[in-house]
Structures are given as structure tokens and as C-alpha cells.
């Protein structure tokens, strides 16, 4: 039997984690606390037992947004990474911080009191351009100086000499 190892981390790569069981309960939360914590319209989370969550590089910084809730992030780049309720044996990770977010489809939504009225139209927004089509020069410059950690584990980060 092969061991489950699902990896993720922050944008700069200072914090990396591995999940050692298949995560489940993927959902998006529209509540105002998740909105503000993520700077977005909702937060997407998927959970595992805490015993299956391993921090493989760096440390989580934690903001206790209320007594029951701890929100973990990287204090070097800001990526929102985890949520943990002190009464729960589980921990949630932000789906966008997973190295392969496309594999983790949300099954539910909550925090509906703060859902944007136009949320249902989001997928149909005008626009069909890739970053490159939108701005080829900018895209080339990003590619030449990209400081984002790659979407897989690395032995050493940042690369020596950078």
C-alpha cells in the first residue's frame, strides 16, 4: 500500500506541509470572517485529522480570530494556509495552497449570510484571456524572475545563489 502524501505550501515556500490521509469535506465559506481573512469573497477549505497534517518546512504564524478559531498563515508572504477549531480534532487547509488544487472539488458552501448577491454570476464574467495574451511582456518578466515556490516539494529553497 502506498503512503498518501498530498503537499502544499505558501507562495514564497517558507512554509510547506504534507497531508498523510485523503482530505475530505471540501467546501467554501462565505462568512465575513473568512472573507476578510482571505481578502476575497469566500475561503475554500479541505480537512484532515490533525495527526495526518505534517509541517515539512517552516512554521505557521497564527492569528486567533476568535477564542475557538486559529488561522494559520505564512508571515513571510501572507498566504492563508490553515484553520483550526479548538474543539475539533481536524485541521482545514486552504485549497489554493495545495500544490494540485484542481484535484480537490468543493462539495458544499456555508456562511451564506455574507454570500455576494452576484456570486452565481461569477463563473460567467466577461474575459477569456490568459495572462500571456493579456500582457505578453509582463508575463515574460514574471517568468524570468518568478519567486513563487514550485508546486512540488524542494530539497532546498530558495535556490542557492538567489
Amino acid at each position: 500500500m502506498s503512503e498518501i502524501r498530498i503537499t502544499g505550501g505558501c507562495q514564497c515556500g517558507a512554509v510547506r506541509y504534507a497531508l498523510h490521509e485523503q482530505p475530505d469535506g471540501a467546501h467554501i465559506c462565505h462568512c465575513r470572517m473568512c472573507q476578510k481573512a482571505f481578502g476575497s469573497f469566500f475561503a475554500p477549505f479541505i480537512g484532515v485529522e490533525q495527526s495526518a497534517f505534517e509541517l515539512t518546512r517552516g512554521e505557521l504564524s497564527v492569528f486567533k480570530s476568535s477564542d475557538p478559531t486559529e488561522r494559520g498563515f505564512c508571515n513571510r508572504c501572507g498566504t492563508p494556509l490553515t484553520i483550526h477549531d479548538r474543539h475539533s480534532s481536524r485541521i482545514g487547509v486552504s485549497i489554493g495552497s495545495l500544490d494540485e488544487p484542481e484535484k480537490f472539488e468543493p462539495v458544499s458552501q456555508c456562511g451564506i449570510e455574507s454570500r455576494m448577491s452576484w456570486f452565481g454570476q461569477l463563473a460567467a464574467l466577461p474575459g477569456d484571456k490568459t495572462t500571456e495574451e493579456d500582457n505578453p511582456d509582463f508575463t515574460a518578466k514574471i517568468a524570468a524572475s518568478n519567486h513563487q515556490h514550485p508546486d512540488h516539494d524542494t530539497a532546498v529553497w530558495p535556490p542557492p545563489g538567489t
Binding site: K36, S40, C77, P106, C110, E113, F119, L125, D134
Partner: protein, 163 residues
């Protein structure tokens, strides 16, 4: 005419900002860099002309995600706050960090190479209702002890604790 004053900040309230105008470029960006920076399926951003923007509390931290781009956040709570290209005459703020994001409807989307298949399913996800309906006790505990800054400016923050 009263001058528009549009405010926002991070979750913990250590960073607060104000905008006196917004560009008409509110959008979501699906590119993989915006995804990972925000831990989300996309980043939601709107531009503010530099001359119309000011930090009113705190100095944000920033990560230079590539040579000409800085991404700002609060080092105390992590909220992603801005995307800024060195040569742009505007700063792009995360829409969710504004105090009233509902007032900033989206105009378009881009970064389509990174668009996740999940985005098409979002609107039809099974709905567990409001936070209070789903978990009244948990919601009461959060409400009683929330450390989130309110969605308006405050003279003093954190609120002074009654002795």
C-alpha cells in the same frame, strides 16, 4: 459633493487603508501566482490610483513574487491586501479586504490559463445556510470573542478591554 471615502483593512485591524476612488477594473485573476498567494481559487482585485490611496494604520509587509511585483499582506494576521506592479500608477487591493466588498461588483476575469474546473461548480454547491443556522453555539462563541476588526474605521484598536 462629498468626497468618496472607501475603507478597508486586514482581519486583525493592524492595517487599515482608504481609497478616494476606484478604477473600473474590478476582476478576478485565476493565474497560479494569485491562487497560491491568496490560498484560493483566484484573487479578487480592484485598482486604486496611487494619488487616491493611503494607509491609515500600520505598514503592510510585502513579498516580491517576481522582479516587478509586490504582494502586500498583514504580518500579524496574514490577510492578503494588495498586488502592486512597480510601474503602475495604481495599487490593486483585494476586494474582500474592503469593508463593504458587496459595493464593488466584478467587471471581468483573467489569468484563464490557471482557471480551475471548480469555479464552474461554485454556484451550485450544496448549501448549508447561514453560519448561525448551521452552528448556533459555535457562532455565539465566535461572536462573543471575535478579534476581527469591524467593517469601519476605529479610533483605537484593539478595542480597549474593560478593566
Amino acid at each position: 459633493m462629498a468626497e468618496a471615502r472607501i475603507t478597508g483593512g486586514c482581519q486583525c485591524g493592524a492595517m487599515r487603508y482608504e481609497a478616494r476612488s476606484l478604477k473600473d477594473n474590478s476582476h478576478v485573476c485565476h493565474c497560479r501566482m494569485c491562487q497560491k498567494a491568496s490560498g484560493n481559487f483566484f484573487a479578487a482585485l480592484v485598482g486604486v490610483p496611487l494619488e487616491d490611496f493611503a494607509w491609515t494604520r500600520g505598514t503592510p509587509a510585502a513579498f516580491r513574487s517576481s522582479e516587478h511585483v509586490e504582494r502586500g499582506f498583514c504580518r500579524d494576521c496574514g490577510t492578503p491586501l494588495f498586488f502592486r506592479h512597480d510601474r503602475n500608477q495604481h495599487i490593486s487591493m483585494t476586494i474582500g479586504s474592503f469593508d463593504n466588498p458587496a459595493a464593488i461588483p466584478l467587471a471581468f476575469q483573467l489569468g484563464m490559463e490557471g482557471r480551475l474546473p471548480q469555479v464552474d461548480q461554485l454556484a451550485s454547491l450544496k448549501d448549508y445556510g447561514t453560519t448561525e443556522d448551521a452552528d448556533p453555539d459555535g457562532t455565539a462563541a465566535i461572536r462573543k470573542t471575535t478579534r476581527q476588526h469591524p467593517d469601519h474605521d476605529t479610533a483605537v484598536w484593539p478595542a480597549e478591554v474593560d478593566a
